[in-house]
Amino acid sequence: MADDRTLAEMLRAQGITRRGFLKFCATTASMMALSPAMVPKIAAALENARRPSVIWLSFQECTGCTESLTRSHSPTIEKLIFDVISLDHHHTLMAASGEAVDEALNEAMEENFGKYILIVDGSIPVGNPAYSTVSGISNLDMLKHAAEGAAAIVSVGTCAAYGGLPYASPNPTGAASVEDIIKDKPIINVPGCPPIPVVITGVLAQFLTFGKIPELDSLGRPMAFYGQNIHDRCYRRPFYERGQFAETFDDEGAKKGWCLFKLGCKGPITYNACATTKWNEGTSWPVESGHGCLGCSQPNFWDMGGFYRALSMPTVDLANKAGIGLAAGAAIGVAAGALNRGKKAKAVREHETVTVDDLEKGA
């Protein structure tokens, strides 16, 4: 665990060439939208970076985020970079079990107090902590304890970042996100269901390179990876502009690869790197495979009114609401109309007629 070698030494020990390493730095720089002049700086920073201790806590989650990371096509240089990070504690990946796990956590926290990176995936059941515990310790207590000595927290996946699926209505466990609970530490949200592997490693590389948390958007996501709108970067965008839409998943439009907006694509409100980075080593991404974007890197994506409902459609039954308005309006309208008629009749009744004679008398 206590390994003082630098990242560069670690990588060389694992057979990564200098050329391969620089290639990774260049890729990272371009992903973060940095100028090529930054590549040597990234390389220098990474080369001299000490192996940072990383503690990974898994709460109410499906392990999809870990799967995403570990199933990055092996061996990628990203994966190796991740290997050389001192992942001191990971509920799912560590070989140890039982008390040894708790010891590993405490040891890592004590040794690197104030310096370790805390990665969290999964939401925290605050309503009833019993829904998710590890060794009898509630997720809430474990998060608070682990956050105390963390240099920064990375919320991996939409559950940790915004509550995700457990948070979906009616939120039976009272799920909360990390930023709902921890207020005094820098938090980087890396949402996605799951996040793109290269984005997870990219954020860590960025943190190691610059020693500070990257520029974040209003939802706490690194601008470098979440600054782009899916709809803006979508290769199907020209079909949207032309008004050519797939109406069903097997019609002519779908076969021709037309826009999936009407089939519920949430691309226009989703910020993520899928359209450019793609998945499985750049093979494809959801829209390319013929399914609309679910908006998984956005808060509440599960409650967006249905995955197959067009984004512009109301999430409530407006025809039904119009019916309510019509019924109530008719009742009030009849009453108001009757009242007006009454007023009118009264005015007619009380109208005093005047004859020419009356007028002459007055004069």
């Binding site: 409100i269 009114g305 109301p314 407006l318 025809a319 019509l326 109530a328 309006g329 309208g333």
Partner: protein
Amino acid sequence: MNEVDFLLWVRGPGLAIASIIFVLGMTVKMFEIFMLGRKKNLAELRGSGIKEGFRTIITRSGHVDTYSTRNTRFTHIAGWVFHIGLFTAIFLLAPHIEVFKSIVGFAWPALPTPIIDFATVIAMITMLAMLFHRITNPVLKYLSTGQDFVVWALTFLPLLTGYMAYHHLFFSYTLVLGLHILSVCLLLVFFPFTKLTHAVTLFFARWYNGMMAGEKGVQQ
């Protein structure tokens, strides 16, 4: 409340509240208007009032009397241009048609977005020109009330926020889309209680005009 919560609120509860107020308000208004009734026509009928009524709804829009409109030509032309732009933007953009489809159950063909974009810009420019005209023309200025400016803003905001949303101007699309729907909610809420009701009452008013003229045997 973050921008996503905001968008979800305006797309759901917000829009529901606005729709109920809109339909309720318009229904009350219609009952009030129709229940007032009309005086019985005691004169002998000289033609079909009903037929002339329907005819006038259409002919009054198409007829341009160059003499009587000589002083209001700008208002006439700008009014036409603005309304065509507005209707194109509201009813012929694919995402809007999806909204109507979710209410009425059927859809109609959409126009490509560059055309909608053009119509929106034309509508906005015309509205700005009409606002300028309103505040510079002495007669119009004298006739204008606060409501005229409120109604102008209520109509202008959905166009502006829609344009901003499409072009991703200033804020994230999520927030601007939320603002766009919110502006439509506001329009719906104020619609029944302002002169925006002309969009509906115009047809009844014209029908009555035509009917009365028809019953008197006015030759067209």
